[in-house]
Subunit: 200 residues, 4 copies
C-alpha cells in the first residue's frame, strides 16, 4: 500500500483532501476510515490516528469547504464591484457555482446539511453563516442579510435537486425583492418561470 513516509507533516491535510474527494464522489455515506485511507494512499491506522472518529474528519472537511467557499465569496469580482447592485452580484455568483463549480457546491451542501443530524457539525455550519455575513456586511442590514442567505440556499437547493437550468434573471429579481426593491418585476415572462420542470 502506502510507501513509508518518515517525515510527512502534511499528512493530516492530505487525509482531509482525500476525504473531500471521497465525499464528492460517493457521498458522505461512502466515507469511512478505510475509503479515506485508500484515497489518500495512507495506511488505515493513519486515519484513525489523526481522526479518532468519522465526525472529526467530517468537521475538518466541512471547515475546509467553508474556507474555500467563503474566500470565493469575499474575493468575487462581482461583490467587489461597487457599480454592481447586490442582487445582481449574488445572482451571478450563484450562476458560477451552479455552473462550473456545481460538483463543489453539491459537496458543500451535502456537508452543510449533514449538520441536521450530526450535532458535531453544527458549530462549523454556524461558521459558514459567519463567512457569508462577513461578505455581506455593509451592503445591507442583518435582517435582510439573513433572508438573502435563506433565499440563496433555497434557490441553490431547488436547482441542485431539480433538473432545470439556472435562471439568473429570476434569481436576480427575487433577491432584489428581498432587498426591498418591491416594485421590481420579473424580467422573464411569468408563464415561463422556473417552477415547472422542463423534462424528467
Amino acid at each position: 500500500m502506502a510507501r513509508p513516509r518518515r517525515h510527512d507533516p502534511d499528512r493530516r491535510e492530505r487525509i482531509v483532501d482525500a476525504a473531500l474527494r471521497v465525499v464528492g464522489r460517493d457521498g458522505i455515506a461512502g466515507l469511512s476510515h478505510r475509503t479515506a485511507a485508500a484515497e489518500a494512499d495512507v495506511p488505515l491506522g493513519s486515519t484513525t490516528y489523526h481522526f479518532g472518529s468519522l465526525d472529526e474528519l467530517l468537521v475538518a472537511a466541512l471547515r475546509r469547504t467553508n474556507g474555500v467557499f467563503g474566500r470565493t465569496l469575499r474575493e468575487s469580482p462581482e461583490l467587489a464591484d461597487p457599480d454592481l447592485d447586490l442582487a445582481t452580484a449574488l445572482a451571478r455568483v450563484m450562476g458560477r457555482w451552479l455552473g462550473e463549480d456545481r460538483a463543489e457546491l453539491e459537496l458543500a451542501y451535502e456537508l452543510y446539511l449533514a449538520a441536521l443530524r450530526r450535532p458535531a457539525l453544527r458549530p462549523v455550519a454556524e461558521e459558514w453563516a459567519g463567512e457569508v455575513r462577513t461578505a455581506l456586511a455593509g451592503r445591507t442590514d442583518p435582517a435582510t442579510a439573513g433572508a438573502l442567505v435563506a433565499m440563496t440556499d433555497g434557490l441553490c437547493l431547488m436547482y441542485l435537486l431539480g433538473g432545470r437550468p439556472y435562471q439568473e434573471e429570476h434569481a436576480r429579481t427575487m433577491l432584489a425583492r428581498v432587498l426591498g426593491e418591491g416594485s421590481e418585476n420579473p424580467a422573464v415572462p411569468l408563464a415561463e418561470a422556473p417552477t415547472e420542470p422542463t423534462g424528467t
Copy 2:
C-alpha cells in the same frame, strides 16, 4: 419475534410507517432493512420482499411524508382564510411546523434533501414541489411561487440547523417582500434580526 401473520394486507404500509419512525429517531443513516423490520415487528425477509432495495423504501417513505405535509398545507386554516394575506399565512404555518411539528419537519427535510445524492428520490422530491405549487396556485404567479418556496426552505433550514427560536415576524416580512410588497419594512428592530445565534 413476529408471530406468523398469514394474512396481513397492510404489512407494506406498516413497514413504511416503521421506516419513518426509524429515520425520525436515528436519521437515514440508521435505516436498514433490519432496523425497519425490527421496528415493524416483522421478519427481515418481509422488508426485502416488499422493498427490493433501500432506495425503494426511502421512496415510499418520502412519498408518504409528502402526502402528509401536502395535506396539512392544503387544509391549513391560515391558507384557507381569504382575509389573511399569503405572507402572514405562510409564516404562521412555518411557525407551527417549526414548533409543535418540528420532529416531522426535520424528518421531511432529511428525506427531501437526501434526493441530492440519491437519484431515485429525485422524482418524488419533484412531486413535493408539485404539492406546494398546488397549494399556492391562484394566490400568486408561478415565478413568485418558486421564490416563495425557496425562501421557505431556506428559512426552515436556517432554524432547523441553528439554535435560534423562530421569528415569525421576520419571516412574514421577508415573504411579503418576495411577494412584491417592497416598501414593507421589518417590524422587528434590525439589530435583533435573526442572523446571530443566541447560544452555543
Copy 3:
C-alpha cells in the same frame, strides 16, 4: 411483471431457453429460480412449478445444449464430406466452435463439467458422449473414438482457458496421430507450438 398467459404450452421450453441465456451470461452460479423467471418474463412460481429443483432445470438445459451441439456435429459439412479425412474435419469443426460459436461452446462445457459435482447431470453428460459416438461411428474404431473425444475436449479447454488463438494445423496433426497416422509431423515449426501464451 409477466403478462397473464392463459394458454402457454411452450412455457417450459421458454424457461429452459431463459436458463441457457442466464448461464451463458452469468455462469451456473448466476442461475436461480428467480433469475430464470426474470429472464423468461414469467412469474417466480412458474419456474418452481415446472422445475422442482435447480438440478432439474440444469438437466433440461444440458440436454438441450447436447442436442444442439450433437446436431451441428452430425450435420457438419466437414464430417459429411467423404473426401475430407477425419482429423481435418474435426479440426475444422473445432475451429468454428472456438471462433464464431465460442460463447455457446463455453456454455456447453460449463454445463458439461458441472456434472463433476452434480450427480444429477452425469447421465446427461453420458448422453453427450453418445451423440459424439454416433457422429464418429463408422469412421474409426471405438477405442480411437474415445481418445479422439478426449483429445478434442482437452484442446478445447486449453483454448478456452488460455488466451491463445486456435491453431487448426496443430490440432489436425495431433488428431491425425491419435488416428494412428503416426509418421505425421506437425506442419508448424515446433518452436512456435501453442504451449506458450502469447500475452498475459
Copy 4:
C-alpha cells in the same frame, strides 16, 4: 468458537488448507468466507481480512493445488525412470491419480476448470500449464507436449465424469500415438474400448 490467538503467523495458510477441505467436500459452490472460517476454526472476520474476496481465496487454493500436483509430477518415480517410455510413465501416473488420489484430482480439476468463468483464476491456471511443461521438458517437443497435456486432461475428465474403471493400457496406447509412434495398436480388444458406460 475460536479461542483468541494473538500470534498466529500461519493463519493465512491454515485458511487455505481449510478452503481446500471445504471445496473437496462440498465443491466450489460450498465455499464461502463463512464455511472456510468454520472449517479453519477462525473468526469470520479473519477470512475476509486475509482474503478480501472469494476469488482471492480461490486463487490461493488453486496455487497450492498446483504446487502439490506439480511436485508429485516432477518427483514421480515413473517419470524419473529413464528406462520407462513417456507414454507408459504418464499412463501410470494417471492411474495413481485416478485411483488412490482421486479426491485430490477431482478437487484440482474443479479449481482448474473454474478458471473458465473466473478470470482471476486464469493466470494461475496458466501456471499449472507451466508446471507440466517443466516436467515434460526434454522428453518431447513443445507441440507434442501440448497435445499430451490435452489428451491427459481429456482422459482424466472422461474417467472422472463417467463411472468406468481406468484402463491404463488404453491410455498408454493413445499417449504413445500422440508421441508419434503411429503404428502402435491398442492392446485391448477394440470392442471393449472405454466408450460405453458399464453402469447407469
